[in-house]
């Protein structure tokens, strides 16, 4: 999958690297602002309250 994605990225090696970094940053931003907050409730590593 990743080799396929790499093959589809435009440009040479440096351009591909740049585009890949941009894509990864975009993915991270999306996950940080939308994805992870939405699922965080199910994967809490730090539950602090006393609940029944």
């Amino acid at each position: 999958m990743y080799s396929w994605i790499w093959s589809k990225l435009p440009g040479g090696k440096f351009a591909k690297t740049f585009v890949a970094v941009v894509l990864l940053a975009g993915l991270a931003l999306f996950m940080f602002t939308i994805g992870f907050p939405a699922i965080e409730h199910y994967f809490k590593v730090d539950q602090t309250t006393i609940t029944e």
């Binding site: 999958m1 940080f32 992870f36 965080e40 590593v45 730090d46 539950q47 006393i50 029944e52």
Partner: protein
């Protein structure tokens, strides 16, 4: 077709299913060298022993060491099979009428196979393949000599190292590929024959032919020059595909796991800082606008100071409620419990490992440490008296007299701190209880707070 730009990906194409062509390599001055493949081999799950005819020319083969470099049906190119003996090479899978730009063979290919490295290079007198062999005197360098930018230099260096006289970069080679149902012929000189029904002119499109170099003395076949570790690992196409699939899944999982860890540790801290600033401003605004009103749920109403945890809990807003929204903006107070200074248990919760982790160092708290709560009108000074690690559902810790602690202290105005334990887990809760020892009006700043403020001023 730029041959040296084609990346070898043994998993992108089915290997070996069409390797059934007798190929002959002809090099001027040297005897023909032939490789036989079994025409009757199965097209699926073909093993090396299936398509190599050991019977016909057993001395040529060590079956397990015969390597398929690749095929490139997508690019119209041939298979390449290189034998570990080092001097034989097969072009395969050329359908009738197919063409190959043989001039590409003036250059070289450094190919990575399943278990070893094979160098295919063109010399002025033909094509040569070099098989790294364990135990040879020259050890390959760790650098990847097949990288595009350095490929040619590295190969030239290798060629020079194995020859008494440096081999100059080869002049353009004229070569021709002719195809017949039985064999592929690679020869440095074009040969037109009426007997060959698939001579060059019939191949579409015509092969690009460049000038033929002057014949040179036939060099010795180049001996193996590198040493490698050949693990001998063999995988079928299906298992390789499965392994790739699994590796993709694992890589994806790892990426998201790392992202989530960064989100929890770094990003949540940044988010928390913003929320804390907003909540603190809201608390101070509420004090001015409606100091005596009962705080609503989610509303900030007090600030917390813990001198022992001064770097984390100092002027930290306390909001009513213990949901994620309150806890990411400071401390949250259990909504059904008492308010600061009132009889009962004023219970607070705070994160220990994410969202600013205000109670990260709860393990550093000691008995008699102060917890100071600032409201619109008063300072409430509590002293910690007891701690305990309990189960997450131990709701009794929030009672007004948890474990009979009031009976021991004689003070009904309590405070309780709750956070997770262990720090990066949620299996238990760490509880600290304290009792109210002093109430001051808002202008009587507690000593700990005042000294800290003076320290900041100085």
């Amino acid at each position: 077709m730029a041959f040296d730009r084609i990346k070898f990906d043994p998993n992108s194409v089915p290997l070996r299913s069409d390797l059934r062509i007798l190929a002959t390599i002809r090099i001027s001055g040297a005897p023909d060298r032939s490789i036989y493949l079994d025409l009757n081999g199965s097209k699926e799950d073909v093993k090396r022993s299936d398509y190599i005819s050991e019977i016909i020319e057993p001395q040529l083969f060590k079956q397990d060491e015969v390597s398929v470099v690749s095929n490139w049906p997508r690019f119209g190119g041939p298979h390449i099979v290189v034998l570990p003996e080092g001097q034989r090479l097969l072009l395969g899978q050329l359908p009738e009428g197919a063409t190959v730009d043989v001039s590409l063979w003036r250059k070289f290919i450094m190919a990575q196979t399943f278990s070893n490295r094979i160098l295919v290079a063109a010399t002025p007198n033909g094509i040569a393949a070099f098989q790294p062999r364990p135990g040879s005197s020259v050890t390959p360098r760790s650098e990847q000599i097949y990288k595009d930018s350095r490929q040619e230099q590295d190969v030239q260096k290798i060629l020079n190292s194995i020859s008494e006289e440096p081999i100059k970069p080869p002049p353009p080679v004229v070569a021709e590929v002719s195809v017949s149902p039985l064999y592929i012929e690679v020869s440095p000189e074009p040969e037109e024959s009426e007997e060959n029904p698939l001579k060059t002119e019939e191949i579409q499109p015509p092969i690009e032919v460049e000038s033929l170099p002057e014949p040179e003395p036939e060099p010795e076949f180049i001996a193996p020059i590198l040493s490698v570790t050949i693990p001998g690992e063999k995988r079928s196409g299906k298992s390789t595909t499965l392994m790739l699939l699994i590796s993709d899944v694992l890589i994806t999982f790892a990426i998201f796991a790392i992202m989530y860890a960064a989100y929890q540790t770094v990003w949540s801290k940044q988010v928390s800082q913003k929320h804390v600033a907003v909540a603190k401003a809201q608390v101070e605004r509420n004090w001015k606008e409606a100091p005596a009103t009962e705080p609503a749920i989610h509303q900030g109403f007090a600030l917390a100071y813990i001198p022992r945890l001064k770097d984390k809990v100092w002027g930290l807003p306390i909001s009513k409620g213990v949901s994620s929204a309150e806890l990411m903006s400071g401390l949250g107070s259990y909504p059904d419990n008492a308010l600061p200074g009132a009889k009962g248990n004023f219970a607070l919760a705070g994160h220990r490992s994410t969202y600013g982790e205000p109670l990260a160092n709860i393990d550093q708290l000691k008995q008699d440490d102060e917890v100071i709560i600032q409201t619109a009108d008063n300072w409430y000074i509590y002293k910690l008296v007891l701690d305990e690690i309990v189960d997450p559902d131990a709701t009794w810790v929030l009672d007004s007299n948890p474990g009979g602690i009031v009976n021991k202290t004689g003070v009904e105005e309590m405070i309780t701190l709750t956070t997770c334990d262990p720090r990066w887990g949620s299996t238990h809760r760490w509880i600290w209880w304290g009792m109210l020892t002093e109430i001051r009006t808002i202008d009587q700043v507690p000593v700990a707070v005042a000294s800290a403020q003076q320290g900041q001023v100085q």
